[in-house]
């Protein structure tokens, strides 16, 4: 749980799923964090910035709210289809588009997060769980890429005081109320002082099953 002593005071939340966005913003706000969202305004968020050029989005958050110390982002899911029915050019374009957005946002935010010190990046994804889903080679590739990106960034940025982790959700997302509560708690934990020893980890929510291995 964050508190006034928490290093995380200003957050940028860039999540595709409205339910996830709402849950995360509500919890961060309750924890005393001032939250900007990328895209549509959300109750509790003090700023909504256009999801245009990543550098400009981060700059606006810093200009209007102050030092950015938490970035929460994800990747839009690419189209689902049987691989044997998919044009590889379309397949690759979808994967490239999905992976580029979080990369660009993180790249833009790192200087601000480094300046803030004791800051966090949280990726929200499905981890390796996507590999268990039907007709999801593109999604699994994106999510596998995010896992490796997250772990690499954790090693790269940890010495600079930027802690990077991932929260992995099952495919049904937040249809289960218990899962929404778990997501809120996980964000609060990883963004707060108690999460300072976690780096490069996947915190998997749900009961297992499709999330294996």
């Amino acid at each position: 749980m964050t508190s006034n002593s928490s290093p995380v005071r200003i957050a940028l939340v860039a999540l595709q799923d409205p339910a996830q966005r709402t849950v995360v913003v509500a919890r961060l706000t309750a924890d005393g964090v001032r939250v900007a969202v990328l895209g549509q305004p959300v109750d509790g968020a003090v700023l909504a910035v256009d999801p245009g050029e990543a550098m400009a989005s981060v700059q606006r958050v810093e200009d209007e709210l102050g030092a950015l110390s938490l970035l929460i982002c994800d990747a839009a899911p690419p189209a689902s289809a049987r691989f044997v029915d998919t044009d590889p050019v379309d397949w690759f374009a979808g994967v490239q588009r999905s992976m580029f957005a979080p990369f660009a946002l993180i790249r833009a935010a790192v200087p601000a997060l480094r300046r803030a010190g004791d800051s966090r990046i949280l990726l929200i994804g499905s981890g390796w769980g996507a590999t268990q889903l039907k007709d999801s080679t593109a999604l699994a590739a994106v999510q596998g890429g995010l896992v490796a990106l997250m772990k690499t960034l954790a090693r790269d940025l940890g010495p600079d005081g930027i802690i990077v982790n991932e929260i992995a959700l099952p495919a049904q997302s937040l249809e289960q109320p218990a899962l929404a509560s778990a997501l809120a708690a996980a964000v609060s934990y990883l963004a707060g002082p108690n999460g300072a020893a976690m780096a490069g980890q996947i915190l998997t929510l749900g009961r297992g099953g499709e999330l294996r291995p």
Partner: protein, 229 residues
Amino acid sequence: MGRVAIVTGAASGLGASVCQALHRDGWTIAGLDLRPSNTDLSLQVDVTDAVAVAAAVQRATVHLGQINALVTVAGIYEELPVESITDEQWNRMLAVNIGGTVNACAAVVPLLLAQNAGTIVTISSDLGVGGSQGDAHYAATKGAIVGFSRSLGVELMGSGVTVNTVAPGAADTPMLAADSPWRAESFLGTLPVGRLVRPEEIAGAVLFLLEVGPALVGQIISPNAGATI
């Protein structure tokens, strides 16, 4: 004609080692690479070009007959801090490493499905499983290969076509620059095996996966000198 394999990135480094190992094991090989490869059928092609890859695979079937296996080795490597990676470098890394893998699979999978048999081995990296330092775009593409391969393995399960992955640790290949930190004694000393992985050891893992058949699906084998345990 005996068993026929298509190997991408066949001209040098790990790809060439895989070709040598397959050759010794009696395989006939079509090598896809930008440069000529020392294989039974050398096909010069850019793996990022899906149409060209499909045409090359078609040529391989005309010249060598039924394809039994695909090994996707083609890849590039680059060390850069995340803030220094340009859009072009990010997109190029994705296009070659994951795009090239997918283009080869898209061309070969229908052939294997039509004969209800075949083996695909993709090459990822230990860094795609555990991350690294200074390799964000490379690691992301190798993680993507793991996710893709596991998912494709599941999709093709029961068809007679298997998909598995070799995720090697730092290997003594030309991909690793002479002054790479992965060659430094300070890194090698942290490895239980105490040295870089030899290309022939990675090729051995590929051979194992080609031999083992349908008992393994969506698995990752990591000859990594103990770097990630």
